[in-house]
Structure formats: C-alpha cells, structure tokens
C-alpha cells in the first residue's frame, strides 16, 4: 500500500492537481459521452414512437 | 438498343419511382413525361449512368451497362439541365472543349458549320456570357450537330427556345432518328417527331420506402 491516509492519497505527493485533473476530466468526459449517447437514442426513439403512433391513428 | 427493366430510384428515404420498364431501338424515340418532381431528370441521369440505380437493370446492346460502360459512354450523348457552357469561353471554344472531352475532337470547319447551322453565325467568337439564354442553349445544341453518338439523352431540350429554334431542333432530331439513332428526352410540350415514338409517364405517387434491408 502506497498511502498512509486519505489526505495523503488525495495530495498525490504534491501532484494532486495534475493527477486528479487528468483522471477527473477523463472520467467526466467518458460519463458525459455515455449520457449524450443515451440521450440521442432515447430522443430518436421518442420521435419515432410519436411518428408511428400518429401514422396508426391516421390509419384507424 | 437500350433496354431497362424494373428501374427504381430513391431520393433520400423516398422512392421516386419504381418498376419502370423501357426500351429504345434504332430509329425510335421515347418521351419521358411526368409532373414536377416525378423523377424525369433522375431517370435520365440513371440511364446515362450518372446516378446509381436503386433496383433494376439497364442493358446496352443486350449486355448490362455496368459491363460495357466505356463502350456505352462512347456512344452516348447526354445533355442535362446545366448545359456545360463556360461563360468566359466563346461558343466555338465551348464546342471544341466539350467535343474533346467527349472523346471526339472537332476540326475547325465542322465546328464553324455546326454553329452556323444552329443560328449563331457571326457570334462564334463572342464569350457565352454576352449571349442570350436561348443562344446559350443553341451553343449546347450545336453539339448535337457534330455528334456521332448513337443514343441521345436530352433533358428538356426545348426549354428557352423560340418557335423557329424548336422547329430546327425537331429537324435535327428527325435527322438523327432517320440515321438509325436513338433518342430519349423529357419535355412538357407535345412534340412531332419522325419515326416510331413512345411516351413514358412517370406519375406513381411518392410512397415511403418499405422493408429496406
């Protein structure tokens, strides 16, 4: 184990800003990308569902 | 001869037309009709090999066009909506270039004679920019006079022509047909041409494309 305490872990031997800046931004970027992809799929589905429902109503 | 079975054309996710059959033999003409947006230009572009077919087969002299593409293009003259006229070149230069690109360079005398016959006498060296709309069309049509192509595909050739020019174009087309040429064209007006002719009406209402896979 490299770390004696949590604060030591977060300080990263004085490099905390750089290390957490890297890992944090990476995690945030991947998370945002995943959320955007999910939004894109659900938006498309909602649009299509509405369109199809309207088509069905027209046929009835 | 040119023959096509079951042609279909898509634009975006809309089907413009489908199941179009046609055939043109030497000496025959085919007029493609239809409302605006029915796909007349698209059909002509497909037949000329400019646009891909969604479905169907086009045969030239009994063989699929895809296999004999070079031979087919060597025997084809296509005039589209855009007349391929450069505003900064003179009528004569325009004619020379288009002929050379089409693989049949012209000599000076032939080119001059063609321009004279089409009614551009004395305007051979004027830049196309100063010509009227109808005169520009004539520069494009002068290509017909020097063409050895068997098959002519003309998109709206009568547009922007006056009565005299229409009559003259008709006689050029008649000559072509009487030499055993083939002709496919679109026009909104009824045209009297020699030889056997047919008309093809594109008018299927646009339907959404189904079951695409």
């Amino acid at each position: 184990m490299n770390w004696g305490s949590a604060s030591e872990f977060f300080a990263m031997g004085g490099y905390g800003f750089y290390v957490w800046g890297s890992f944090g931004v990476t995690a945030a970027a991947l998370l945002i990308e995943a959320l955007l992809a999910r939004k894109r799929l659900s938006d498309t589905r909602r649009l299509l569902r509405r369109e199809l429902a309207a088509d069905r109503d027209n046929q009835d | 001869m040119l023959r096509a079975h079951g042609l279909a054309c898509d634009r975006g996710d809309r089907r413009l037309f489908s199941a179009v059959d046609l055939s043109v033999s030497p000496g025959e003409w085919l007029q493609v009709e239809g409302a605006n947006g029915a796909g007349k230009t698209s059909l002509l572009r497909i037949l000329a090999g400019l646009a891909p077919v969604a479905e169907g087969l086009i045969e030239w002299e009994g063989r699929p066009v895809a296999e004999v593409r070079d031979d087919y293009h060597a025997r084809l003259l296509y005039l589209g909506h855009a007349p391929a006229i450069k505003e900064d070149l003179s009528a004569l230069e325009n004619l020379h270039t288009t002929a050379a690109v089409a693989g049949r360079p012209l000599d000076e005398a032939t080119a001059m004679a063609a321009l004279r016959r089409i009614g551009l006498k004395g305007r051979e060296d004027l830049p196309a920019r100063v010509l009227s709309q109808g005169q520009k069309r004539r520069v494009a049509l002068a290509r017909l006079l020097c063409s050895q192509a068997r098959l002519w595909i003309l998109d709206e050739p009568f547009v922007a022509l006056d009565v005299a020019a229409v009559a003259q174009l008709c006689s050029i087309l008649d000559d072509h047909l009487s030499r055993g040429g083939m002709l496919i064209f679109t026009s909104h007006q009824a045209v009297q041409l020699a030889g056997t002719g047919a008309s093809l009406r594109l008018g299927t209402p646009p339907a959404p494309r189904e079951g695409a896979a």
Binding site: M1, N2, W3, F9, M12, G13, G14, Y15, Y18, V19, G21, S22, F23, V25, T26, A29, L30, E33, A34, A37, R38, R40, L41, T44, R45, L48, R49, E51, L52, D55 | G12, D13, P208, R209, E210, G211, A212, A213
Partner: protein
Amino acid sequence: MSQRLINWFKFASPASFYPLAGTLWPWFAGLASVLCAVGLWISFFVAPTDFQQGEGYRIIFIHVPASWMSMFIYCVMAFWAAIGITFNTRLSGMMSSALAPTGALFAFLSLWTGALWGKPMWGAWWVWDARLTSELILFFLYIGYIALTSAIDDPRRADKAGAIVALVGVINVPIIYFSVKWWNTLHQGASVSMTKAPTMATTMLWGMLIMALAFWMYSIAIALYRVRAIILERERHATWVAELPEMQR
C-alpha cells in the same frame, strides 16, 4: 455473386444488427467497468511511486491508453471505410460515424492528460514533441471527419465522403508522424524529448494494459450504443423499425 455476399454479411444489415448491438453493448459496458476498477486499483494502490517523477507519473495510466485508443479507433474507422467502399454495405458507414466522436474524445484526453503531465515534469503545458504534435494532428483529422460528415445532409453521401477522408487520413497518419519526428529531431535543441520514459516496472505495464483494455471495451460499448441510435435515425421509415417492441407503446 451478390447472393452469397449478402449471406456472408448477414449482420451487415441494420435490421439484424440493431438487436444484436442491443444485446452486446451491456456486456462490453460491464467488462469495461470491471477492467476499469482493476486498472484503477493497480494504478493507485499496486504500482509503486516512481523514483524520478513521484506520484505525478500515475497520469501515464490514462494518458498512454487514451493515445493508443485514439490511434486504434482511427484505424478501425479506416477499416470500416474500406469495407464500405468495397462492399457498399450501409452498416460500415454507420460504424465509422459511431466511432468518430469516441476517437476524437480519446485524442482530446490524450492531449489534455499530456499537458497535465508535461507541466510538472517538464515545466511546460505544451512541448512540440513529436508524439504530442502528431496526436494534435490526429485530433484535427477527427474534427475534419466529423465536420464533413455532419455538413452533408444525405447520410449515404456523408458516409461515402467520410470513408474517403478516413482512408486518405490513414495513409497520411504514418507520413505525418514520420515528418513530425524528423522535424522534431532537426529542432532538438528547442524542445524536450518526451520519449525518454522512465524504466517501466512490470506492475506499471500491467496497469497500463488493463486500462487500455478497459478503454477498448468502453469504446466498443459506446460505439454499439451509438450505432443503434444512428440506425434508427436513418431507417426510420423501414417496416422493421415500426415492428420493434420498443416502438409499440
């Protein structure tokens, strides 16, 4: 001949790939999470402190895998582009455009983490090092691809144009890398070489490999997920879309 090809490319049909991608992506996402957890654990708790760079070197565990992924994804895009041009399959273009944003993101992350690593180690946010410079150009190539494909309205045309960009780019990537390297050695005095990596402990290598695998799985999962959205957007009028269970409500 086409009959056999169609059988061969059965899954190249969007209609059958859509549900397949739907089944597959959670597995890849799960794998990505597990690998990521293991990778992070190695990065922070197993790998020892570097005697030269202290704890700062731990950025390597995402910097290097992100760079690898950005290059690898570009190659995969070029691969799909080649398939799309040769066999005229629709799915390949969709895969390329599903991958591009992820590739661009990894290129960006590689630059970002590179800057954050460079500042404490070499005293500058940016050095005109051969690797950083080529990564920057790769990022430009991604941006060019995305800009072009999103500027063309007709999706099939966009796919074909994108395929050409991807192929031209992939021919150019080694040329660019080589030229930048050459340029860099010519200007050796002006810049610091970042290529002198510290001698690597085995645990560090493992950490990097596992993180790379995690990114890889993530990329597959997100590409599969995104391609489903793209398939739906493009095939909206196909009957199979209307028959999908999620479209019934």
